[in-house]
Symmetry: C2
Subunit: 373 residues, 2 copies
């Protein structure tokens, strides 16, 4: 068989990109860019347009070390005040499920129905399905406010300089999983994280009851497409971003959330055999999709946990890109076992590592699982 046709074109811009090299990752912890309270250095400070969430309404994620029992991040949460959906200059209502802008374009809101195919074996929406909605709202928000020049969230100046935003870390805290035919409403907004990073927050609510289902925060850094190195935010880019950023701290203090090291020599762990992504695991950029990363993480968790517990919290730290020829292995070690007996089951926490056959890290993660009542 001779196949000489040209490969398919890729009309889509870059989605939630992941980090390209392990070398670059060190700045994600915040050491290179200072905390959100630090003074500006080379880049001028951003004059924030609006203040919606009081700074004290932040989930503080406790610093976590290996095998150390910690209070779940969710325990410290407070509920931000109700969003103001007054119509403003930038606001536009498309349709019930198409999304709309609020707060002068600062906040994007979109509804989704939970369908039969979104459900996992426990009859609830899967975390993979929910993470896909999270991705969709961030893209739609950027598109709605015009931050889409050549890539996800890119300003014109960023495009000119070949810069894109890459997702370094993502933390998700689940209160309750939606069920079939539920309508979920997602609010998302973004803000400055230090001088050279962005955070994005998401709140998932039950559309009918207004109950909060999920909170999530992602941390993004700016990367040069060619050199694959992180870049500082210039004055021009700051000016372009100014009106798009919320003056608030992130819902979850993700910058300081530490992940336990999975030292494969010292600890017992579960592992999968190596696997290559299939065609259906690739996104429009020929990268492995984020949903597949989560699938791989789950594959090294014992079935006995998966069928009796549900994911309560998940922190993902993206370390390097994974493409169609990558050969990946998933490793999981118990970080804290609070299962005890059936009447005092406090759940179980795992450290995870996805690594390439070559040894390079693709993803580090921590997950907390609570018993299904």
């Amino acid at each position: 068989m001779v196949l000489t046709s040209a490969p398919p074109t890729l009309p889509m811009p870059r989605l939630l990109s992941t980090l390209p090299t392990n070398k670059s990752i060190s700045c994600c912890g915040g050491t290179n860019y200072g905390s959100s309270q630090s003074k500006p250095n080379s880049a001028p400070a951003i004059n924030f347009q609006a203040k919606v969430f009081p700074k004290e309404n932040v989930i503080t994620s406790p610093k976590q070390d290996d095998d150390k029992t910690v209070t779940p991040a969710a325990a410290a949460r407070k509920i931000p005040q109700h969003l103001n959906w007054e119509s403003r200059k930038l606001d536009g209502v498309y349709d019930t499920f198409g999304g709309k802008l609020g707060q002068g374009g600062l906040v994007f809101q979109q509804n989704f129905s939970i369908r039969s195919y979104d459900l996992g074996p426990n009859g609830k929406a899967t975390i993979g399905c929910l993470m896909e909605r999270l991705q969709e709202t961030s893209i739609q928000h950027c598109r709605s406010v015009g931050l889409y020049a050549g890539g996800f969230g890119s300003t014109p100046e960023m495009s000119k300089r070949g810069l894109v935003w890459v997702l370094c870390k993502l933390q998700t805290v689940v209160e309750k999983y939606p069920s079939w035919a539920d309508v979920i409403q997602i609010d998302t907004w973004t803000g400055a994280s230090g001088n050279n990073g962005l955070f994005r927050d998401w709140i998932f609510r039950d559309y009918s009851t207004r109950e909060i289902l999920i909170r999530a925060t992602g941390l993004y850094m700016m990367m040069h497409m060619k050199t694959r190195k992180f870049s500082k935010v210039t004055a021009e880019i700051t000016d372009e971003l100014r009106s798009a950023l919320m003056d608030s701290d992130p819902l979850i203090d993700i910058k300081n959330a530490k992940l336990g090291r999975l030292d494969i020599d010292a600890r017992n762990y579960f592992q999968t055999s190596v696997a290559k992504p299939g065609w259906s695991d690739l996104d429009v950029n020929q990268h492995v999709s984020h949903a597949k990363y989560i699938d791989w993480v789950f594959e090294s968790i014992p079935f006995s946990v998966l069928e009796t517990h549900e994911l309560s919290s998940m922190t993902l730290e993206y370390r390097s890109e994974c493409r169609r020829d990558s050969v990946v292995q998933s490793l999981t070690a118990v970080a804290r076992d609070g299962t005890g007996d059936s009447t005092h089951n406090q759940g179980v926490e795992f450290d995870h590592l996805l690594r390439l056959e070559t040894g390079s890290k693709v993803l580090r993660a921590r997950t907390l699982w609570k018993p299904i009542m």
Copy 2:
């Protein structure tokens, strides 16, 4: 770690079930139940309520043998007349994306937006995503008209007797794949297939242009849940179904569509290593999801085809259930190679087989791939 909690409850009814035993499959070809033109035997004929599609508007799927070049089924298609969406007793509009009934409940229509996560590496909606929408509309249709007593499409009498509908065969013909942010509109209806079977048709349209994107037909038989054997349709069940069935032939003559045998001793084929389903591959009934079947089929197709061709037609024949402990292998053989040179590429056709480690067949399939222009 001690895990003693009870397993999660499964609040959802049985979805599109697949056949439980190889022994039972022989009747799916239509030999046991006669053609749709045959006279009723033990079960009384169904008095159809409405006639919408002329019988000549049917895609005739040519009988296919191994390695035989055939005209694609799509070539013979005709477009059914426009549906009548007058409001009737059973009709109800929920919302733009919630679905509505037409033709007195005979036809169900639902819209879906194509999201970023629905796209494959070629920037178009994946066939897996489209098959999920197909499944959703069939479930929603049954639910809307009250055919949901204890299982997908079940009547009260069926529930009493422990009977469910199982999907034996599904054929899909794709004209055009939708892209990001497109809204697709799906119409679906069901009708009698012989005296003891049902067919279900689907038409996918572009919501804006009204262009037909996809046609599909599924063939269902009634199975006893305990004995796992096929059952005849009784007079009581016929009465219950009477008002739900369209008086038409299926869009695709799926009953007579033959699949090529994949004789692994005589032909060259591609194969994957054996694989077990992951947690995220299971549906609410702890069966492997239909999307995963398609993933597995794709895994044994060479990447060189996947990246230069797109799926034009797919026929799936479900042979046995696949559960979480199943160990599955995917095999693919070329049925017809029309790739030629780049100026005369007529595409390529494959026969597929998913089989268990034990040798049992899970799924037989034929796919037709056309070059991407």
